[in-house]
Each structure stands twice: as structure tokens, then as C-alpha cells.
Symmetry: C2
Subunit: 351 residues, 2 copies
């Protein structure tokens, strides 16, 4: 086994080099990349670094029969990019620390790195370091992302105020429904070939979510007061986080929550309200936030200029921090922070 491990580590080294085509825009920013004790990256005048770090664990965050290695790599990077996007930042560099069980094949490892490299290329990012170790059991991958944002322009959860409008930068619930669909499929559906074509976008959104860096950058560069969060744990949990951090109440208009046709179709099939996945599904990686009402048209125009979707879903009110739903017939009900996620076997929004 020792020898096999050695070969795998050498492979990772090779993969790391192969998958790390450094974007031209970053070449002058990397002083030292892979191949020394640490990476050295240059800051730019007037910018702040944004740094985050997320771990994905086999049998906790993904299962071999619902996600293939390519998607695992893709998603591990995506969740970190989304954290940078949620601050209004531009992702630049990433580091990957991976713990590999002996049972994993070389091909699977290669696919993990390919998945990351594909998404990294889309966002003009460069791999600058990491670590590769053995795991006695589960595969785990930890990704650290470094990005930057104009000094003083970071968009935090604390920025919401009474009177603000609440927006979403895309449909929600697709990823949660996609996971539900994958878990329901008998024996798992690794290649997704047996799925109904109209439902494929749900699986795609769960396995290869694309973080909304563009929206975050528009908002950061707007110069306006913006509160922002990414939808990693569902709209309910993320709304609660902004409401608590800003000391305000969220009033979401249920009729305005944007849902894709695919999630509606799947809801019909399962006889389940698709809003459940919107509120509690998570991992959609769109952005939810608040801006002053007076800036509504300006924000709309900025998004329209780049043909990026934008949905107004409610307003911010004064009161004890919390989140409420406005139903059609003028009734108002509280939206609990947590929903039960049967995959993780625990309440969502607490991890």
C-alpha cells in the first residue's frame, strides 16, 4: 500500500501542475505558486484580500452514488467562491488540501482536480498550494480561496436597515430538489442518463452550482449600502442571518420567490410544495441581500446592463430580528430558521 500511496501523491502533484493553467491576468500577481513551502501573492493597491476555507466530507456533504468526483471537486471550490462573492469580492487564488482513502482510484482523483480546474478557469482563478495526505477512511477536501475587494466596499450581513428592499439574484430551491431527486433514484444515478430531461437542470444545479460572483461585483462596485449573503443553507437560514446581524425583520413576499419551471414540475410530481426546497434546501449559491428602496431603479439598471436576473422578494421592517412570510391573503406567518434535511440527518443551517 505504501508504494501505491506514493504513486498517488506523485499523481496529485502532476495533476496540480496540469490543472493549474495560470490566467494571464494573474501571472504577474503570483510571486511563488506551487512548489515551495508557501504561496506568495501580491496585493494590489486599494484592494483588501478576502479569504475563506470550506471542507467537504464523504458521507457527510456528498455520497459517492449521488455525486461523481468531478462534481465533488467542482462543488468544493464553488462553495468557497460563493463565500467570496457574498462579500462582494472577486476570487483570485485557491489552495486545496485533500485526504485520500486507499480505496479511491487514480482516475477519480484526477476528476476531482479537473472539476476544480474547470470552475477555476471560468472565474480566472489560480491554484497556488495545498496539501495531500492519506485518509484512513472518508475522502475529505478542504479548499481555501483568496479573493479581493475594493478597500471599504465589502458587503456584510450587517448592512440591512428598515425600509430596505430584499432581492435575490436567481431562482432558489433547484439544488435542494436536485439532491432529493438523486437520493430518490434507485441505486443512485451516477451518469444521470436515466433522468427525465426536463429535471436535469435540478441535478446540474446541485452537482455543479455556479457561484454568483458577477452579481456580488456589481453590488460592490455600485458604491451603495448593500447587505449580502449567499444561499448555502437555504433562503430561510440566510435571511435569518442578515436579519439577526442587522437587527431587523425580513418580510418575504411568498408570491415573489423565484422558482424555476423544473422545480415546480418536480414539486408537482412529488406532490410537495417546491418552496420547501427554496427555504430549506440550500446550496443554490445565488445571493440574497438588501438595498435602500430609493436605489431600486439604479440596481435594476446595473443588472439589466449585463442581462443578469434580479428578483425583488420583500422588504425590511423594524422589530425583533426575525423572518416572516407574506402569504397571498394578507396573512403573515413566521418562517422558522431551520428545516429538517434528511440527507444530513440534522437540522440545516447550523453547520
Amino acid at each position: 500500500m505504501a508504494k501505491e500511496r506514493l504513486e498517488e501523491f506523485a499523481l496529485i502533484d502532476l495533476l496540480t501542475r496540469k490543472c493549474n493553467t495560470i490566467p494571464t491576468s494573474l501571472q504577474s500577481r503570483i510571486s511563488i505558486g506551487n512548489g515551495d513551502d508557501a504561496a506568495v501573492v501580491k496585493g494590489a493597491n486599494g484592494y483588501d484580500w478576502v479569504v475563506c476555507c470550506d471542507t467537504m466530507v464523504e458521507d457527510v456533504h456528498f455520497k459517492g452514488h449521488t455525486m461523481n468526483p468531478y462534481d465533488i471537486g467542482y462543488k468544493a471550490l464553488a462553495s468557497n467562491i460563493s463565500d467570496v462573492a457574498a462579500m462582494g469580492g472577486a476570487p483570485l487564488f485557491y489552495l486545496v488540501s485533500i485526504a485520500i482513502p486507499a480505496s479511491w482510484e487514480e482516475e477519480a482523483l484526477a476528476e476531482i482536480y479537473e472539476g476544480m480546474a474547470t470552475l477555476a478557469k471560468e472565474h480566472s482563478m489560480a491554484l497556488i498550494g495545498g496539501d495531500t495526505v492519506s485518509s484512513p477512511s472518508s475522502m475529505m477536501v478542504t479548499v481555501t480561496v483568496l479573493g479581493e475587494v475594493e478597500a471599504g466596499r465589502k458587503l456584510t450581513r450587517r448592512n440591512a436597515k428598515e425600509g430596505d428592499l430584499i432581492f435575490l439574484t436567481g431562482t432558489v430551491g433547484d439544488s435542494g430538489a436536485g439532491l432529493d431527486l438523486l437520493l430518490e433514484a434507485v441505486n443512485g444515478v451516477k451518469d444521470h442518463n436515466h433522468l427525465c430531461p426536463s429535471l436535469l437542470p435540478l441535478v446540474e444545479r446541485h452537482c455543479r452550482p455556479n457561484p454568483d460572483v458577477q452579481a456580488g461585483r456589481i453590488l460592490a462596485k455600485s458604491g451603495l449600502r448593500v447587505a449580502l449573503n449567499d444561499i448555502s443553507d437555504g433562503l430561510a437560514s440566510e435571511s435569518w442571518e442578515i436579519a439577526k446581524a442587522s437587527g431587523v425583520q425580513f418580510l418575504l413576499n411568498e408570491a415573489c420567490i423565484p422558482l424555476s419551471s423544473a422545480v415546480k414540475e418536480y414539486g408537482d410530481m412529488k406532490e410537495k410544495d417546491p418552496l420547501y426546497w427554496a427555504y430549506y434546501g440550500g446550496e443554490d449559491y445565488k445571493l440574497v441581500g438588501c438595498v435602500p428602496e430609493i436605489e431600486k431603479e439604479r440596481i435594476e439598471s446595473l443588472f439589466q446592463q449585463v442581462h443578469h436576473p434580479l428578483f425583488w422578494i420583500g422588504k425590511v421592517e423594524k422589530g425583533e430580528p426575525g423572518v416572516f412570510l407574506e402569504k397571498g391573503n394578507d396573512t403573515r406567518v413566521p418562517l422558522p430558521k431551520k428545516g429538517y434535511n434528511h440527507f444530513r440527518g440534522k437540522e440545516v443551517g447550523e453547520e
Copy 2:
């Protein structure tokens, strides 16, 4: 179990806050620390960031019966700080991603964070983020460290040239001998109370190694050409890395390799040459490097000013990259890059 997990995660959140006393020197540098999607830290004019990321895995990098949780946390941070030190950098911030099996007690988790906080305080570092997840089996901890170094002053492995002198910033072999000692002890020696007092420094060095940031900073600020590596995989492997990266031969004078009295005593006890641990033991986290011979006195004076040890252990020669030992009787033998590490069950220097 779900509920227990939730409580543990809440505990980590608490511990993270508790253990994160932000040094005064860094308070103005943290724009956003814990509690948002990502951390935002300010660069300083004229400095480059140094970033690295290492993972420690239960039963791979440590065993419960040789290292207690405090030491695991301490060492996970130490190995990353050492990587920054090996670039001549000053460590500033760290992120911790931890995967926790259900079997771990709250107290043990608290100790992991305390171990890190102790070392962080010593180096005036601040915890700025991370992730906490469940692990279905082994405990794993990934630490990312961000540091900075004066622009253009990073000290890499590629800087060695023919005629340079080779130095070490401390004794080597102690950590490897400490591990050997711990593994030999029947049933493990968690509290180390049963060890012969004169051997305790070996265990201390293995469990709580202090990275040599001071030496790295002296060398970076000297303005001289310096090649540098930290001793994470043993003197043999680290010497090989510099020799290969710089395209030179290392000639180490065996009589000059600095050994502690404790490692000599333990070598006598075990009837084993203590140099074995110096070459192949690893995890001493002292620095090995090369400087031009003409600068010998200047470097010595810089180290003497702060009462920091410095040992001259050999010289750099022209030739096919490699490492040789000069024995007492003018013989010269090659020093192989790898030695067998019976704990890891594989060749060292390849991970």
C-alpha cells in the same frame, strides 16, 4: 446524535471566539474576522502575502495515544507557521477547518483550540475563519496560515549557489526521537509522567514544536541572498529539496550536525545513531539554508544580537544535484533522500 453534533458545533463557535484574542497589532488589519462569509484582511504597502495550508489526519499524522488534543491543535498550526517562516515571512492570520467524529468529547475539542490559541498568541496571530463539519470516522484538521514578507524578500529553495555555506538554526533529530520514544512506551504515555525527565525535551519537541519565525525574519530582513527550507521531513529530504531546486550539491559535515544532549542520551539507550533521527526523523521545524560564504560573519552577528543559535553544517558545491556527507576520515558518502518512517508506514519525504 444530530442534537449532540449541533451542540458541538455551537461549542466550537464559542471556542473560536474565546480563543481568538486579537493582538493589538492586528486589530486595525482585520476588516472582517469570524462571523461572516469570509475574512477580510488588509495588506500593508510594500508587503506580499504568504499563504499555506496543511492537513493533519488522525491515525496518519498523529495517534490518540501519543498526542493529546492540545498538542494536535498546537502542532497543526505549528507546521503551517513553519512553512511561512521558511519563506522568511511573518505569520499573521489563520483559518481552521476541522472534521470531527462523533466519538470526540467536547473537552477534547476545546483542547485542540486551546493548543492553537497558545501558539497563535506567542506569534501574535489571529484566527479569522474556517469551517466545522462532521467526520464519519477520523478527526482531521486543516489549517491555513496567511503571513506577509517584504516585497521581493521571500526566501526560496532556489537561491543556493556554489560556494555558499549551509546553516541550521537549531538542533535536529529531537522530534523524531521523541516520536520513537512515545511509540515505544507501553500503552502510550499520554501525560508523559512516566518518562525519564532528561528525555522529556524530546517529547516536548515532537508534540509542541516551535517554528523558527525569528530566524526566518532575521534572514529576510538581512537583504542577503538566502536559500531556505524548514525541517518538516528531516534534514536529508530538506537538503535534497534545496539542492534540486537550486541545481547544486550539498556537502554536509557530519561532525557539525547539532544534536541535543537528550537525543544523544536516547541514542545511547537504544544503541542507535542519533543522526538517524536528524536526517530522517523530521518535524523539528528548525530552518536549513545557504548563504554566500562572504556573509558568514554578518549573519553570525545578526543571530548573536538576539541570542539565537546558528550552526554551520557544510558547504554548497557544483555538480549533479544531490546531498553528500563528509565523514571524519575525509570520506564522502551520499545521503539518500528517504529513510523509512515506521510510524507512517512509508518512505518519508514524499508526502
